[in-house]
Amino acid sequence: MPSRIPRVTKTVAIVLKSRRLGDADRIITLLTPFRGKIDVIAKGLLRPRSKMAGHLEPLTMTEVLLAHGRTMDLVTQAQSVETFAVLHNDLQHLSTAMYLLELTDRLTVEHADATEIYEILERSLRALAREDGIQLVTRRFELDLLTVTGFRPELDRCLETGEPVAADEAFWTHRGGGVISSDALANYPEARKIDSHVLRVLRAYQSLSYEEASRIRIDPDLAGRLEQVMHEFVRTQAERDLKSAEFVEESRRVSLGVDAESDA
């Protein structure tokens, strides 16, 4: 006998984004551990006296009660569990959090178990709020998310031959999904030489525990090159430009510009 869908379900969720529906309602995209990514309707959210508006803002972990609907579920109650308030106080942290949300949205499918993805996003947002370091949190998040969604970049062995590739001799292909040796260049015309420092750090981030990885010190210049490689890679896997990645870069440029002027 087919299992009956309960009329009301309660779940914890992270709000990924929301969009307007009519005059006062919104469609909220939630990431839930067991139902994965789902779109739900929140009625009257744009009214000043809405009791749920603050609990369904993007970048909020919230407990929701959902009434089963024919096309989309309806939010009947919402109570925020974690608002990541400190992330709202700094432009670079906020833009990074927006990037984590957009990347999660792009790389997940609707109505599929997302327990691991939920854990990765929650863990990363909490680490960002603890000020663990934007580079470490973001790069670990990207590598972990790419791994569980089936896009894990191959950093150690040649995609073509399967042989280990030395960091100094490696070439990088976004389309292929990792490193290749010079012997395989003919089959990957778009491949470019990858900065050996960048590759070593990525390898360490992928293979070490979070605590071990957090001991790696990288200067801002190397951080910028790491970010460039990973942003290109996730853009290719997501098959579209990620506006939030551009905003992360722009936020850092604006923030560093101001800091540099105040230091001078």
């Binding site: 990924l16 009519g22 005059d23 925020s80 906020l94 604006v254």
Partner: protein, 199 residues
Amino acid sequence: MANTPINRLIEAFHRLPGIGPKSAQRFAYYVLRAPEEEARDLADALIEVKRSVVLCQRCQNLTDKNPCWICLDESRNRTIICVVEEPLDVQAIERSGGFNGLYHVLHGVISPSDGVGPEELKISELLIRIRDIDKEIIEIIVATNPNLEGEATSMYLAKLLQPLDLSVTRLARGLPAGADLEYADDVTLGRALEYRQKV
């Protein structure tokens, strides 16, 4: 659906935001039953608004005069600019009667999930205006909505404007009139407590 005049009218109403097929049909049949003069007024208003309304070269608000009447009004405080997301926000603040300065309309808010970044907004126009046109400006009030995108936009503007040595402020956040404390979220309640006032 046959390409008849009535179906074309229904289709035109249906394209409006928030209008479903049934509402579109009701509007179309209302226009059909209304006197010809009323239909002509509607058509004229639609054509006139498209022909005459432009963006004010200074504040980017919608206007039929360029610069708009607010930018030309010498009685307004010309040292403060209130930056808003949409032209409707100008109307809302004007209705409140609590602000007598100038405005700048961004025409959106930084929202990466909708594909909107800083370059899609009227931010460069604001910078040019402060540097070259309204040189007496001393304060910028960022009146974006108190949500994730509004906060990102206000923080971005604050960083961008910091080298210009202006006072950049944003609207206070707290509980709306008629709200219940019980249902307030942590961020709103926290801000309301942080910015509490003496009674």
